[in-house]
Symmetry: C2
DNA sequence: TGACAACTTGTACATTTGTACGATATTATA
DNA sequence: TATAATATCGTACAAATGTACAAGTTGTCA
């Protein structure tokens, strides 16, 4: 239980961290490859972002060959919880319903998806 | 159709803008009152944020007495659309389903809420 | 083993963001 | 009509953010 007061994440850091989770672990190179070309960001920038993520305690790295392989040190769930909470707070004043409604209407969601959700509801 | 390339909103700006929508229109004073005391932010700061929101084109103001009354110039829907989109992009790679799932599980949502959502789905 | 390619490190730097003070203007009030 | 109370305006300023170059380091391959 080391996780405590994690510093906040900037949008770009969040974007990169998500890829690390998705890949389980990754080098700067690999992260760059996962980013859409349209993102138009240099290797050096991704590297800086990873450096900051490590400094903030969200990832660590081991060395493989001459490259660093970055590994998450924080559960995705933890960050999602906080991020979603903050987001709903500032955009909807804390009420998640409006967000769900918005998604139901504009999120390319169908009735089946909704049906699936019912199973998840913690009743 | 003036709305075009609106500058991005910072978290704090978003927070304040939401209150303007909620109140329909408001003075610095009124916005301050709506903010939870725990937010611990001064009048001057709120004023700066409103100033920036106006400069960015999200609100305008009229003068009432000696105070400014700020009024939204952008539809809430417009900002929600963009904000939610960006958010889902960076935290979930663009797929809204995981977010819905997360909310169904941890968003204090009940089965009825879900049932309601079905009516909204654009099928 | 020497040069090249792939990396990391150190640094930089313009903007944006969050926060707020002090001076000035304006309105209500005693 | 002085004054107090309330506002705005101009400014400031440190920290965070986004972006990236240049120099130094280390495997690798001919």
């Amino acid at each position: 239980m080391v996780r405590k007061k994690l510093p906040s994440l900037s949008p770009s850091e969040t974007e990169i961290l998500r890829l690390i989770w998705q890949l389980n672990q990754a080098t700067v190179q690999e992260v760059c490859e996962k980013l859409p070309v349209s993102r138009n960001i240099t290797y050096a920038t991704v590297q800086t972002l990873l450096r900051r993520l490590e400094k903030k305690g969200y990832i660590k790295h081991k060395t493989k060959g001459k490259a660093h392989v970055f590994i998450p040190t924080v559960q995705q769930e933890t960050v999602i919880k906080r991020s979603v909470g903050d987001f709903i707070q500032r955009l909807f004043g804390g009420d998640p319903i409006p967000l769900m409604q918005y998604l139901a209407q504009h999120g390319k969601i169908n009735t089946e998806d909704i049906e699936e959700l019912k199973k998840l509801v913690d009743k």
